[in-house]
Each structure stands twice: as C-alpha cells, then as structure tokens.
C-alpha cells in the first residue's frame, strides 16, 4: 500500500515536471478537436470550429486537427486515433455524450491533456469548460414578453437536461419581468440536429397561438418557419440560437444569443503551453464575453424591431417605468460586470407546482444552476420524465 502511494507521488511529480517543462516557448502544440455534428451545422459544432480558427490565428505554435460528425458510440476510437496516430498533445471533446470516453482516455493516456466541453467529471489530466448562454435567454425573454400580442410564447427544446431547463427558465424569467401575464410552452424534439422535427414543433406552437419562439437546435429551422409566417402577414418573433441566424429570418428574428469559444480555447491552450494548466472548471458567461447578445454579427437587436421595443413600456421595481429596449441594454451592461451585479435567478423564484425554490433576495449558485430540474412558475406543463 505504502509503496503504491510513494510510487504514485513520484510519478505525479514526474508528471508535473513534464507538464511544466514539456512545452518550451517555441515548441509546437498539437490539439485535436472532436465535433459531434458537421462543422457546417450552423450551430454548436460550427461555433466550436470558429473558436478553433480564432485560436489558430492567435497562437503561432498551435497545430490543429478536427474530426466532425463523430457519434458518441465511436468517440473512443477517434480519441485513440488522435492520441496514438496523430500524436495530439491535447484533445478537446465537444459534446456531453463524450464525457465517459474522455475520462477513460485521461486514465489511458496520463501524459496527454483532455478538455471536455459541458460535462461535470474531471480528473488529473481532464478538465471541463463551458460557455453558458442563460443570461442571453433572459434578455431574449424580456423582448419576447414585450412584443407578444397573444401572451403565449413558445420554446423548441432538444433534450430535457439541466442546461436546457436552465435556458427555458431564464427565458421564462425574462418574459415574466416584461409581461407577467404571458406563459411559456415547451416542445421537446429529442435531437440536437433535427430540422424536420424542429419545424414541426414550431408549427405546432404557432398553431397553439404562440407568436414568439426561442429554441435550442442546431439549424435555423425554427427561424425559417417564423420567417415564412411573417412574410405571409402573421408576425412571428424568433430568437436566433448559437450562430448568427438573422439572415435566415430578416422579418422574424428579433435578437438571439451568440457563443464565442475563441477566448476559452486561447486561454486553455496557452495555459497548457506555458505549463499553468489546471483542471478547474471553466464556466464563462457574458462577463468573459463568451456569451453575446444578438442574432447577427453586426446588430444586437434587429433594426426592424428596435422601434417597437422602444415603444413597449415595462413596469420594473428597480427602474420604474422603462422601455423594453432600455431594460435589455441596462441588464446586458449589468451582466457584463458579472453575476454579482445582476443574476436572472434571484429569488423569490417558485416552480410551477408552487414550491419556493430560491428564497427572496438569494441568488442561485453555480451548482444550483448546473443541476436545475424544475420549471419556473410561468412555464406550462411538466419536464418529461
């Protein structure tokens, strides 16, 4: 037993020694990126690839390899190939479903680094990172609540996991801040990439009377539905997700959320290169400029909807009567200063069964947010079990 501890200590010292001295300033670092979808998906994998390209431009010593459309069932093989054949020093696995395989790879290759996106398991050489958009969903919710005519708002959602529940709830809290009368309906499509299902779900929500739609799915399908209805004279407000999708719905997209992974990738790769890497969870929000507001690269809010939002007045406790446009901007500024200044999940927050979940004046902690599994009180229905 003792022998093993000593041996472990020696080997970990050895390991630390290697990782600090391993990459001299001029030494190349090779990074492999495993994507779950095609890089042309216009959503999740596309955004990661943009981040990778940004890091490549910024870091002259960086060499990269990407593998796209890797199913979870095949991820272990791809990681093996990147490490064994391509001699990658670090592998980024960018889908939740890769978690177990990333942890196993960490054990198998103690001299390599692994970064898993969106998971919660870490080990000596496996770190986690995530950029979360819930604050932007809150801002989108304010706009949806201010613009809706029917007081019925919809959300097309991928899978019932905490990340999605957090986004739905943040969107609902934004709606509530602007319009306490409005309710939110959710349709689950059980796919990250499923334009056909997303279209069906969007049509179903519109048929139920919803006139503002947000979504989590990797294509502009929901926006295309909104655009079609808007062109025919029935205004449907949509919120772009993840990439700049406004061009797909110039008459429908109000705003949206954009993710910039570039900063995270530069930070992680630099820390590995100069030997300061730790496996601390990286969780970046508006403050770190990972989460950005907007449905296009140029405007935060579609110019077409700026006027209506300036005319929509909202009663708030903090600022009195204020235009929705101004409220969005002020909240965004506060978010950029940090969650200490403004946190959408500030009590009192009740779930839609009437239970008090966050007490008055209290803020949800990061771990509360990461494990959230209840709907707030203006969301209709139940989370699928």
């Amino acid at each position: 037993m003792k022998k093993w501890i000593v041996l472990g200590l020696i080997s970990s010292l050895f390991f630390i020694g290697f990782s600090t001295a391993g990459f001299a300033a001029d030494k190349k670092l090779k990074a492999g990126f495993v994507y779950v979808g095609p890089v042309g998906d216009y959503g999740w994998s596309h955004a990661h690839d943009m981040g990778k390209k940004f890091a490549e431009e910024k870091l002259p010593w960086l060499e990269t390899i990407i593998v796209e459309s890797v199913s979870e069932a095949d991820s272990a093989r791809i990681i093996d190939r990147l490490v064994q054949q391509q001699k990658c020093d670090v592998v980024f696995t960018t889908s939740f479903g890769y978690m177990e395989y990333t942890i196993k790879a960490g054990k198998k290759y103690p001299d390599n680094f692994f970064m898993h996106c969106s998971g919660f398991k870490r080990s000596e050489n496996v770190g986690t990172y995530f950029g979360d958009l819930y604050q932007m969903y809150y801002l989108n919710g304010i706009m949806a609540g201010a613009l809706t005519k029917t007081n019925k708002i919809g959300y097309v959602a991928a899978f019932p996991i905490p990340e999605l529940i957090r986004h739905i709830d943040a969107y609902a809290l934004g709606i509530k801040a602007a319009n306490p009368e409005a309710t939110l309906s959710v349709k689950w499509i059980y796919a990250w990439y499923g334009p056909d299902k997303a279209k069906e779900a969007a049509e179903a929500l519109i048929a139920e009377g919803c006139d503002a739609l947000a979504f989590t799915e990797d294509t502009p399908a929901v926006i295309e539905v909104g655009q079609r209805h808007s062109e025919k004279g029935k205004q449907i407000y949509t919120f772009s997700h993840y990439s700049a999708m406004q061009p797909y719905g110039v008459d429908s997209v109000v705003s949206g959320q954009l993710m910039d992974w570039g900063g995270i990738y530069v930070k992680v790769l630099e820390s590995i290169h100069n030997g300061t890497w730790t496996n601390d969870d990286i969780w970046w929000l508006a403050k770190e400029k990972a989460a950005l507001l907007g449905g296009s690269k140029t405007d935060m809010i579609n110019p077409k909807f700026v006027k209506p939002l300036q005319n929509a007045m909202i009663d708030t406790k903090e600022f009195g009567k204020i235009a929705a446009y101004k409220l969005v901007m002020m909240r965004y500024e506060q978010m950029k200063k940090g969650v200490e200044v403004f946190e959408p999940f500030t009590g009192p927050i009740k779930d839609n069964k009437g239970n008090l979940k966050i007490k008055a004046g209290e803020k949800a902690s990061k771990s509360d947010l990461l494990s959230i599994m209840y709907y707030v009180d203006n969301v209709k229905g139940d989370i699928p079990k």
């Binding site: 069932a73 093989r77 190939r81």
Partner: protein, 357 residues
C-alpha cells in the same frame, strides 16, 4: 443499333467470384481516385492512408476488429433470415432490445454473482431480448400477412423510444447526476479486453463461433434445408409439410438473438452503461444488412465481410484526420465501394452480350 442481351450465368466458380470482387474493388478505387483528385488530394496517398488506417497498422487492425464484432454477429444472423427471404430490417432494434435486457440483468444481478456466472447470463439475456423483438414480426407476417419490411423497420423506432423512456425515466442512474443513462454495470459484468485495445475478446470469439455453427446448421441440417425451401419455393414448402410459423419464428429468434448478442457486446464490452440509442450503436443493425449481402448470404463469409466492412468504416477516419476532408467524404467513398461491389454481383450472375442489329 446496339442491343444489350443478358443471360443467366450458371458456371460461377469460386475463382470467378473472387476475381469479380477484386475487379469491382479496383473499379471503385478508380472512381474514388477521381473524387480525391477533384478535392485536390493525391489519390495514391489517400487510398494508402485509408488502408493503413484500417488493416495496415497495429492501431488500425485492433480498431477494425472491435468494430467488426457486432457486424459479424448481426451479419451472420441476417444471412439466415435473408435466405428464407425474410427481409429483417430490424436488427438495430433487436440489438437495442438485447442491450436493454442485458443491462437489466447486469445491474440487478451483477453485484452478487461472480463473472463466470453473470457474463453468460447477460449474453443469454441479450439473446432473449433480441429474439423476442425478432419473433414479433415473424408472428405478424405468418399469422396476419403483415409485410415484415415495414414491421421490422418500425419496431426499430419503437425499441429506440422504449430505451429512451427507460434511461430518462425509471432507469436513470445516480452516477449520471440528472442526465439520461443508467449506472455503470458492476465490474463482474464487464467483459475483458485485449490489453491496449478495445477488443472485448469474449464477444469476438462468440461471433466467430456463432457464424461457424450457423453455417453448419444452414448447409448440413434439415432445418437449414427448410429455411431455403421457405425462401425459394414456399408452395413446395407447404406440400412438403413445413410448418411456416415454427420455421419463421426460429429463423427470427436466431437472427434477432444474434443482434441481441451484439448489443450485449457493445454494452458490456465498450460503453459499460445504457445511454441514448445513438450512443449504444452507430447503426450496426443497418450496416450489417450490407455485410450479409456481401457475404453472399453465407454465415461463414459474414466473418470476412464483417471485418472488411469494419475496415472500410475505420479506414474512413483517415480521410478526415489525415487528409482533412469533410466527414461526408467518408460516406461517399464507402457508398462508392458498395455500389461497385453490388454491381459486380450482377455481372457475376448474368452474362452480358452486345449485339449489333
């Protein structure tokens, strides 16, 4: 005018069959080379990368074998069903049902039983699950004349939904912290691997044994003869007193059961827990249809075609990783290879003459 005339070819020798495959492969490689040239990649370099990525390196061989295990099992089982002209498109669902049964058995009895009892038990459970899911369309077909292509295909989706329901609902494990998926199987239920690889050897040996046994059954027993009669001449079968219901049920129990065994291998050998359908199987049930076809419906050849096809899939990685081409290229290359191999079959079975008129 030129007229094309086809006549059946009767003298198909093994050599001719082999040469046809080689020529088809060569023709496919020529077309693929053109595709690579268009993409600006040296085709000789690209093709050598693909083959060294699948068969030409230690890394490639062990990954190819890992991927071949489910393909051999399912492919061998499908040859039996296809011989009887029972078009089982439902192996994916049968695999998943096998995985469901095996996971239940492993999670509930794995803690208290030693490996030499629990491992055979989960294989038995997986076989039962797959067989159960395979028998349903057999009964539907014989009793109610419901087309098995439709019923087996649709049962895939039903099984995937049942699996999803289980892992987001009652079977969701504490180890997954609110995310869908069961807990990991206990260590005793996890299959050993060849060190340094991901080959779960128990399933590999089982898959080859299954193929051999099935080959003997098909060519040397009365039951094997019956399956061929059922497929090729159902009327004669009726006069000969073959019980269609019984024969079909046995055929689909074996075909589905083999797929179920493949599901056990994936769960207990690779993933160690039950997750979303797409993370349990990357479409093995569908890929194996082609494996069975390439094997000319001979269970033993399914071993070779299973390994060959696994090689194509694994070698495809190289297209992305070494050559930096998009993932869709892999599918184009694989699709081209298959089309040519299947076309070759046509020229093997038919004589083609051009006649001037």
């Amino acid at each position: 005018m030129i007229k094309i005339k086809t006549t059946d070819r009767y003298n198909i020798t093994p050599l001719r069959s082999f040469m046809t495959n080689i020529l088809s492969l060569a023709a496919a490689l020529v077309v693929i080379s053109i595709l690579f040239l268009i993409s600006g990649v040296n085709p000789i370099f690209a093709i050598s990368e693909i083959f060294s990525g699948s068969f030409g390196s230690f890394y490639g061989i062990k990954e190819t074998l890992t991927k071949a295990i489910p393909l051999i099992l399912i492919g061998a089982g499908l040859t039996l069903a296809f011989r009887a002209k029972f078009w089982n498109i439902g192996a994916e669902g049968q695999l998943l049902m096998g995985a469901i049964f095996a996971t239940w058995t492993g999670l509930n009895f794995g803690e208290s039983l030693p490996p030499y009892i629990i491992v055979p038990l989960i294989f038995l459970a997986g076989f039962t699950g797959g067989a159960f899911w395979g028998i349903i369309p057999a009964i539907l077909k014989i009793k109610f004349s419901i087309n098995e292509v439709i019923s087996t295909l649709m049962l895939n989706y039903i099984c995937a939904e049942i699996l999803t329901m289980l892992i987001v609902g009652p079977w969701k494990g504490k180890e997954r912290f609110g995310f869908p998926g069961t807990n990991n199987l206990p260590d005793s239920a996890i299959l050993g691997i060849i060190p340094g690889s991901r080959i779960h050897y128990a399933t590999l040996i089982l898959s080859i044994l299954c193929a051999i046994v099935l080959c003997v059954v098909v060519y040397k027993t009365r039951f094997g003869y019956e399956t061929r009669v059922v497929g090729e001449n159902p009327h004669a079968g009726k006069y000969a007193g073959i019980n269609f219901l019984k024969t079909s049920i046995i055929i689909m129990a074996v075909s589905g059961g083999f797929a179920g065994l493949a599901g056990v291998g994936e769960i207990a050998g690779i993933h160690h827990y039950l997750g979303y359908p797409a993370s349990v199987s990357s479409g093995y049930g569908f890929t194996a249809i082609i494996v069975a076809w390439l094997a000319k419906l001979n269970p033993l050849y399914a071993v070779i075609s299973g390994i060959f096809f696994a090689g194509i899939l694994v070698g495809g990685d190289a297209i992305q990783i070494s050559l930096g081409l998009p993932a869709a290229t892999v599918q184009i290359v694989n699709g081209t290879l298959l089309i040519f191999l299947i076309m070759g079959d046509y020229f093997l079975k038919n004589k083609i003459r051009f006649e001037m008129q």
